[in-house]
Symmetry: C2
DNA sequence: CAAATAGTTTAACCTTGGCTAACAATTATT
DNA sequence: AATAATTGTTAGCCAAGGTTAAACTATTTG
């Protein structure tokens, strides 16, 4: 047992990092992240389809593929999944459309995405960086934090 | 007839939400998120092992399993992977240790995690919520945003 | 109209990250 | 010392999310 550089437990324990949280709380952190990962991609697809419909009038698989930088085969498979989940309707070789439920998810996701993006910009993050960070962060921001971000952005209007 | 070329800049769709970013920029958002997902779990494991070593003096697979709320089999498989990646050394039934490279990754990850956590608290997010959000957000925060968060937290010391 | 091009789907494959069940090794208890 | 409990490994399973290659359908163009 190399007791080489064992931690000397500094008297001022604030020297490096926080203490370990209790096991149950710590476990809840990771579980919440795993849950978010399960819905993350679905949300991004549905949100993008909603955005394409709103801004372009139609949402084709090829557009999704190029905007997501993913193969068309990947999109095709995912569309089948979205269909099974009752989020989109699709006829072969036609534009996709959102179901009522899909539309609701798209709206919610877009609203959340916008709050995070606008918050980052209000903080002073450059636009391109803010867009990249928001795309990942959005799925891990609680309602509580979201509300605080929204208020912060309002107060810091430019 | 997809958006191959530059966006024709729609007339006046300022009614709800932002405009669609150019295809390449949009694609970069999703690509960055996918890349982050590839390293995310590894970082969490290495960071947790580092924390256990620092606070407990040893890092056992069983502790990781309970703190991550995951089966021991899952941890065992992941440890083999961390070993192959040269991030940890392990002898059966003994504590794990970090390699030089693993130690470096643990430090970097912990520092980033702390910046995000402290930032959320400085923003006014309750501690438990901040911990949960930080666990997921940390992997999607750019260096630029991280620097801004650090400065913000310093300025808003309580 | 025929041919070329663009869009979509399917099949076969891969890696990650979970799980359970069975077994093996170590450590603790009686 | 024997047994029980804890800890760790292995095998086999699964779903998600990617890939290429090939086939099929629709649209555009010569
Ligand atoms: Mn989004
Ligand atoms: Mn996203
Ligand atoms: Mn972390
Ligand atoms: Mn994390």
């Amino acid at each position: 047992m190399s007791d080489h550089e064992q931690p000397p437990l500094p008297p001022n324990s604030r020297l490096s990092g926080d203490a370990l949280p209790p096991v149950e709380q710590h476990a809840q952190q990771y579980e919440t992240v795993r849950n978010a990962h399960e819905t993350e991609l679905i949300e991004d697809y549905v949100e993008l389809i909603g955005d394409l419909l709103r801004h372009r009038g139609e949402a084709r698989a090829a557009d999704i593929a190029s905007r997501m930088a993913v193969s068309q085969a990947t999109v095709s498979k995912m569309i089948r999944r979205l269909n099974e989940l009752g989020l989109v309707t699709s006829r072969p070789y036609r534009s996709l459309f959102l179901t009522e439920e899909g539309h609701k998810m798209a709206e919610t996701s877009r609203a959340r995405h916008d709050i995070v993006l606008h918050f980052l910009r209000a903080l002073g993050v450059r636009d391109n960086t803010a867009r990249i960070d928001a795309e990942g962060m959005e799925h891990h921001v609680s309602d509580e934090t979201l509300a605080i971000m929204r208020r912060f952005t309002e107060k810091h209007q430019t």
